[in-house]
Point group: C2
């Protein structure tokens, strides 16, 4: 089991309505603008920081020595209103990457002036457009801002979903598909270049400009792994329904709903094209989309508020779980019913129908915790009508043993024997027919189920059954600047090398994250293990193909298990056991993200290493000439204690 | 000026003879082997750690339970001999990257056993072969070793210069050149994959196996940037000269001499093919190559012992130089004679031949130091026969002023006036005809010559001359795992971010380093500067093409300067002023090395940023999708104080 443990600090945030802003191209009176927008149901406004026609000249030119106020006074709004209601927009004439020295230099100085002003006002965010991949000098200016100013203002970088050149290019229309693909300007690549130059600073967000045409699903899915703070929707994209109200086409609706999952806000831009219904109608429509989102499934509900929160994997072997933890896991609606099914099927095979009167069985539940597997086993036996001679409930946590003893007294009686002992050390009085355990982690073997069951199989009969009988880990490379930044923000524990946060896996509800290819199987363990020399070390190299430009920020790990024959548990996305929430995926980071170009291959190498004292993983990434170092050599940053 | 300052700690190492080892394929008696080799003039031996036929089986197989000593006892040599005379070789049967589990596993366990044994013996180095790019699991094993063991044993990875498959491949022989290039196995890529997986650990070295055929010069030059510890030369590569002695072909000689520059040792392998001359003849020949190396040029002699030593650039504006530093720079045999020539030419143009009797000139030397430029100016005037009315020697360092005052008393007399003042603050009593300065750093403007001369040009006559009148910086991407490791080993100063060592330039005598393309010009400054608004900020993007697979570890910086018209100084490799040693190149590192595939382009973006208090550089690298963050944003790690 490996999922999020409720800790007071993290509270689910649930918004009752969409957050929607109104964009103004120019703004003669800011108070009136805000009042109008608020009355029409908008939560904030976007305003130019400086009058669009007020172009300053710093180096030379007629306006060089012009003397007057740069823009409206900060006195026209209260601090609180500046702080909460206004997103500032930089001047549209900026060309920071112009080849002409004076244009570039003027733009640099004017941008700096506007950013300083917006910080003075305390605006929550500044919106600025990215118009092409020619953005290196703009990135330098912003990189200086985000590196040094203490004020935590956000920069929303406005990127069109489809580049303007692509939307109505007559050359493209005449070309065949292959050529179009090459010609296609990937606006994600603009953003990626920009933010890479800015070292993926957390203060940078994306404001995605919805376009009439939408790119392919694969291209759009990449945005799900980016810090999308806002979606900019022009009034010109709205259709008019039969009642005269503005509505969006289905693909646009779907896209906005996807962005809602990232808690993106919506900004309505452009003139009111439905004056009879007023500008309010657009906000109402966006809020309607918000209200008509699909309800969350069980797992999402359970995970609400814990998205992308990094958690160290449990070490139940070294640490004793707490009561609260047991309680959460015991609530899983699926896991124990699958165990019950598995025990049922095992008993069915073990004791043929005609022998049910004479033959009884011994069951051992190892790692019994507070008893849910004992209960499932007893229920299965009852259901199939096989007699259990003895059920041994072995548990190493003395606190859980107290619960088990009480259950025995109150409910189970002499049929169940509670053994307070580590399963690897217990000297069993007899051998068992069925050995039931649940020692699985998000990556299958990462809570050391193999080592524990190797130790416990001594007391399994020669033809006895282990439940689970097999489990396999899976992995897939993922892109997520959110997770990358979360890992980067962690500090290495004392005594660990500085790269330690990048050399350990995290259990995490993956959310602002995209899988770059289908998961592939990694390590498989089968129980009982009848090898002459048992070797739980493993090594695997896996190749993944990526169809579009992307960044590898690490890989996601999953597992599936055959409890018995075709009774399975799975957290692999395509085969996930519906409603089961006991395991979130696991995330293995990479020290230096790898840039992949479209249709290229990344190889993930992974080792499971063991000593008599502990177990750990090492991993590396290779893509063309880009090669990561092997992470966590000799378990220097992270091991799992035996 | 920017070169190495002699500090007691670094001593030049000059070896009187080549270090040469003898390789044994098997070794029945180790003492006899060592004695034989030493008597024949060899410095060390290479021995198998375990008898080549003693293959152990750990998992299963007939030898699994064999009981006997793994190899000869450690008692057969003294510790000191093990430590200094023996390089251990791992068993040739290892296949750590076999697809067969048992082969791989046996190799892993046996390798580990041998490495443990070699550490127990305290051998200085272990030699092991790299046979293909299929080496990921071997890299994992070695990565664990180098990460954790405290003992500083080296691992010499044996790599052939040309892969065995290429040397006699009948398919290749029939192919046209283009195809051969594609088919060609780049053994450097094997090494690069291996060491990248091992995080470029400093304990890994290369033992290059000389092959009958040599690859192209470009391929070989890359090895000059690698930690080549040894060259393995087979006796089969030797020819026989007319006296019956073994000799190498010229290309082989040249290659070995190049490797001598990296202080590589030579290992002679294979049977004695010149028994009449004995095995000693090979060692004598190698030593002959050592003795007949070209003598060092002036600059190399000066720099001996300081190769690849990272030094922070001088900040003569903020710090006062010491006497010793002045003394070193004043010894430069070229710089001052070029200044004298420049002043001579300037005076020639300034005072026409016919006016030499009536017209005199004022010269100001700003940053006069201990007087070498004063001396050069006076000598130039004397030579051309132009009268100097007054020479002002302006110097801000009060300690150097003492020297100047003494020179004036003893030598120069009233002609020279010594001004103890910062040139930017001095209120000159008159304007000057010629302003002489030497404020140049290795990267031209990096000691703030532009800012100083902008401040001093107030007292230059309208048509006056600045010497220098122009300077330009240059840069080229370089590969050097040595420099990368040196930077990585530095710790950030207190109060600086952890990445600080990667965000500052270093003055360094580049040695174990390869330029990946020709240097290109970066920033140019012209004096006097007559712009309306003087702007010493700069921004440039430069593209470089790389012909072979390579890694970018940063870029090297250089400069050239026109002192006056065609009188120049240069440290750009192709135009370097012969014998001038006042400036070593400058090195700008990169946080994460970029892997380049052959025939690809890397773009270097560089900014010169200024505030009234200081100046700094920011830089970034782009290669395809690989984009570095902008280094040193806002000068957070390094600035040059004004």
């Amino acid at each position: 089991m490996d999922t999020f443990l409720s800790e007071g600090e993290i509270m689910p945030r649930v918004n009752a309505r969409a957050s929607c802003g109104r964009d103004f191209h120019c703004c003669p009176d800011i108070s009136i603008a805000i009042e109008t927008a608020c009355r029409a149901g908008y939560d904030f406004v976007c305003l130019p920081l400086v009058n669009p026609r007020f172009k300053r000249e710093f180096m030379s030119g007629p306006a060089k020595d012009r003397k007057c106020a740069l823009t409206r006074s900060d006195m026209c709004l209260s601090s609180q209103d500046w702080n909460s209601l206004v997103v500032g927009k930089t001047s549209p004439w900026f060309q920071l990457d112009s080849k002409h020295y004076h244009t570039r230099k003027n733009s640099e100085l004017a941008l700096k002036e506007e950013l300083t002003w917006s910080a003075h006002l305390g605006l929550p965010a500044v919106l600025m457009p990215l118009r092409s991949r020619n953005c290196v000098n703009l990135a330098q200016c912003i990189s200086e801002q985000v590196t040094t100013s203490y004020y935590q203002q956000q920069y929303w970088i406005q990127v069109p979903l489809v580049s303007p050149a692509d939307m109505c290019d007559p050359v493209i229309e005449g070309m065949d598909t292959d050529m179009v693909d090459d010609k296609y300007e990937d606006t994600w690549a603009w953003w990626n270049l920009f933010r890479s130059l800015c070292d993926s600073n957390k203060r940078l967000g994306v404001a995605l400009e919805l376009t009439a045409d939408l790119p392919s699903n694969e291209v759009m899915e990449r945005w799900l792994s980016e810090p999308v703070k806002a979606v900019i929707v022009s009034t010109s994209l709205f259709l008019t329904n039969h009642k005269g109200y503005p509505v969006l086409a289905r693909p646009h609706q779907a896209f906005i709903k996807q962005m809602f999952k990232l808690e993106a806000q919506v900004i309505i831009t452009g003139q009111d094209r439905h004056p009879e219904k007023t500008i309010r109608a657009y906000q109402q429509y966006i809020d309607h989309l918000w209200q008509t989102q699909d309800p969350l499934d069980t797992v999402s509900q359970f995970a609400k508020g814990y998205e992308d929160f990094l958690q160290s994997p449990l070490q139940p072997l070294m640490d004793n779980l707490e009561s609260q933890t047991y309680e959460i896991f015991e609530k899983d609606p699926i896991k124990y019913s699958q165990y019950q099914k598995a025990v049922y099927e095992a008993l069915k095979d073990r004791v043929p129908l005609e022998k049910r009167d004479e033959q009884d069985v011994v069951i051992m539940v190892v790692g019994a915790g507070r008893g849910p597997l004992v209960r499932a086993s007893l229920a299965a036996a009852q259901e199939i009508g096989v007699r259990i001679r003895k059920l041994y409930a072995v548990e190493k946590n003395p606190n859980a043993v107290i619960t088990l003893e009480n259950m025995k007294d109150e409910e189970w009686g002499d049929l169940v024997e509670v053994i307070s002992c580590d399963m690897r050390e217990w000297e069993a009085p007899e051998k068992t027919d069925i050995l039931v355990s649940e020692l699985l982690g998000s990556f299958g073997d990462n809570e050391l189920s193999p080592e524990c069951l190797d130790g416990a199989q001594r007391y399994l009969k020669e033809d006895g059954i282990s439940i689970p009988e097999k489990y396999t880990s899976y992995l897939a490379p993922v892109m997520s600047s959110k997770l990358y930044n979360e890992v980067r923000a962690s500090k290495a524990e004392r005594g660990k090398p500085p790269e330690a946060p990048f050399e350990m896996p995290y259990v995490v509800r993956l959310h602002n994250c995209a899988n770059l290819d289908k998961p592939q199987p990694v390590f498989t363990f089968v129980h009982p293990n009848k090898d002459v020399v048992i070797d739980n070390c493993r090594f695997k190299s896996l190749e993944f193909n990526v169809s579009h430009d992307a960044i590898v920020h690490g890989f996601a790990g999953y597992f599936d298990s055959n409890l018995y024959k075709d009774v399975t548990l799975s957290i692999v996305p395509d085969t996930h056991s519906p409603g089961m929430f006991s395991w979130f995926p696991i995330f293995f980071p990479i020290r230096v993200p790898i840039m992949m170009s479209k249709n290229s291959t990344v190889t993930v190498d992974i080792w499971r290493r063991c000593t008599p004292k502990n177990v750990w993983y090492e991993w590396a990434f290779r893509c063309g000439g880009q090669v990561s170092p092997i992470h966590n050599p000799k378990g220097r940053s992270y091991t799992i204690g035996l």
